[in-house]
């Protein structure tokens, strides 16, 4: 058991020396979360836009459903994905369990509803403004959706950043489907959990500091973007 100051010393030492294990874990975390984010945006933006332009019957129920999916406990999502991907499960033949791909799937299932629900909120205001003009111009639903996504880009990047923040910080689902295997599926959050329980506080703290920095940069990035958008009157 190291003392408090010692742990910090070790942590900064690891970061400063560019420790290979440390940065391998950081790299995998980023790869998995960015990939999950990309997929979530590809799924979530169009769903958000569709919920905004199509006032179909039962739309309220779908929105409530997507909203409540935002609050699903990650461990339960992890468990469900585990069941689907495990050897006896419906997609077991793919052999994806305990691979980065499984983690990407789990994070996508977790993040896509968040991206969809938040982008619907962002695009709703835009749609209220554009709707009559688009109908006057005879813009098709598909083009209207695309135009909303393009014109809502600054708001949507903020949504994506929120999704990314949630993805990198997530531990419950990825530990179940990834298994925290060294050099294969060990990411920042699962490593922190493991190293802490092993008593290697230096490594855990180093990862924690990097994770915190990422979270802070993501927030700063969102703020900077909003400032740019406002300056161009695009907010």
């Amino acid at each position: 058991m190291q003392d408090f100051a010692g742990a910090f010393g070790l942590a900064f030492g690891l970061i400063a020396s560019g420790d290979a294990d440390l940065f391998e874990i950081v790299g995998l975390s980023m790869r998995v979360s960015l990939m999950a984010l990309l997929l979530s945006c590809l799924i979530g933006f169009p769903i958000g836009a569709l919920l905004v332009v199509r006032k179909f019957f039962g739309r309220g129920i779908v929105i409530a459903l997507v909203n409540s999916m935002m609050g699903f406990p990650p461990v339960v999502i992890g468990l469900l994905i585990y069941l689907v991907l495990s050897r006896a499960g419906p997609m077991g033949w793919l052999g994806l369990l305990y691979s980065p791909t499984a983690m990407i799937i789990a994070q996508t299932v977790l993040i896509a509803p968040i991206v969809a629900a938040l982008s619907r909120q962002v695009l709703e205001a835009l749609q209220a403004e554009y709707d009559e003009q688009f109908r006057s111009l005879g813009i098709s639903r598909g083009r209207a959706m695309l135009a909303l996504i393009v014109d809502g880009r600054y708001g949507l990047v903020t949504v994506a950043l929120a999704g990314f923040g949630r993805a990198v910080a997530e531990v419950g689902a990825v530990i179940i489907v990834g298994g925290n295997i060294e050099h294969l599926t060990r990411v920042m959050t699962t490593a922190i959990a493991l190293e802490t329980s092993k008593g290697d506080l230096g490594m855990a703290l180093a990862l924690g500091i990097i994770l915190m920095s990422i979270a802070i940069s993501v927030n700063l990035g969102a703020g900077a973007l909003r400032a740019i958008a406002e300056r161009q009157a695009y907010a």
């Binding site: 403004e129 009559e132 003009q133 109908r135 006057s136 111009l137 135009a147 009157a233 695009y234």
Partner: protein
């Protein structure tokens, strides 16, 4: 345009044109027993109206008279509670709307450059990129915005935004142009520019319906005038008659600058 065409049919008391050919023109707006009721309030209530299919029709009336709602109704953006509307022989709906363009009282511009706002509309039609560019330049020059093509549209001044909205409306080469106070925040030179565009469009067979509070402008543009008050059509007829001798108390009061009750 009032006395320009000797062959034009004489207007009837409601200003409508009687020849069968005129009834087929896309600008021949006809409506009957039109009513729009929202939350128990009767916002628009017009028994019968047939517009001259060629003239510039100016719509006047005090704030809250229902002018903007009237444009939305005849453009098919909001369904009436009651009654029917047709353009030519076609019932008002998506088909008629696609041949029309409307400039809203508050211009709605995309969060893109000035040129991209025009191109958004041009892209619906076929045409090469070069053709679209040329047309875009032509339209922007027409409204005096050629120098600002690459600027974000929402950073334009209020008057410039209105001019861009008009250019975008013209981009679709509409058969009917619905303009809701398009010169409300323009300087005198720009007002003149817009009025010339309106008259030129009208000369090119585009039916124009123009909402304005500016009496001088109405005199310059109008072939016929419809006066709305509390959602009712109080008066409709040739402009010369309307301005020389308005028949309703409300229009008299409005034209002389008194508060219309």
């Amino acid at each position: 345009m009032p006395d320009a065409a000797p062959l034009m049919p004489r207007k009837t008391s409601d200003g409508g044109s009687k020849t069968p050919r005129d009834r087929l023109l896309p600008g021949a707006l006809r409506l009957e027993r039109l009513a729009l009721q929202v939350a128990g309030r009767l916002l628009v209530n017009i028994e019968k109206l047939t517009l001259d299919p060629r003239s510039v029709t100016v719509i006047m009336g005090p704030n809250g008279a229902g002018k903007s709602l009237f444009l939305r109704l005849v453009h098919g953006l909001i369904p009436p509670t009651q009654g029917w509307i047709s353009w030519g022989e076609v019932a008002c709906g998506e088909a008629t709307r696609s041949t029309q363009a409307m400039v809203f009282q508050k211009p709605v511009l995309l969060r893109r450059s000035v040129a991209a706002n025009i191109d958004f509309v041009l892209r619906r039609r076929a045409g090469t990129k070069a053709e679209r560019r040329a047309r875009c330049d032509e339209l922007l020059t027409r409204v005096g915005l050629a120098g600002q093509a690459q600027q974000p549209a929402r950073l334009l001044s209020g008057g410039e935004q209105q001019r861009l909205a008009l250019a975008r409306a013209l981009a679709t080469r509409p058969k009917v142009l619905l303009l809701d106070e398009p010169t409300a925040s323009l300087d005198p030179a720009s007002v003149q520019m817009i009025e010339q565009i309106v008259l030129a469009s009208s000369a090119e067979q585009t039916k124009v319906i123009f909402v304005t509070h500016d009496v001088g402008q109405a005199r310059r543009l109008a072939g016929d005038v419809a006066f709305l008050h509390h959602g009712q059509l109080v008066e409709y007829g040739p402009a010369t008659a309307f301005f020389a001798n308005p028949s309703s108390e409300a229009a008299k009061a409005y034209l002389s600058g008194r508060i219309v009750l």
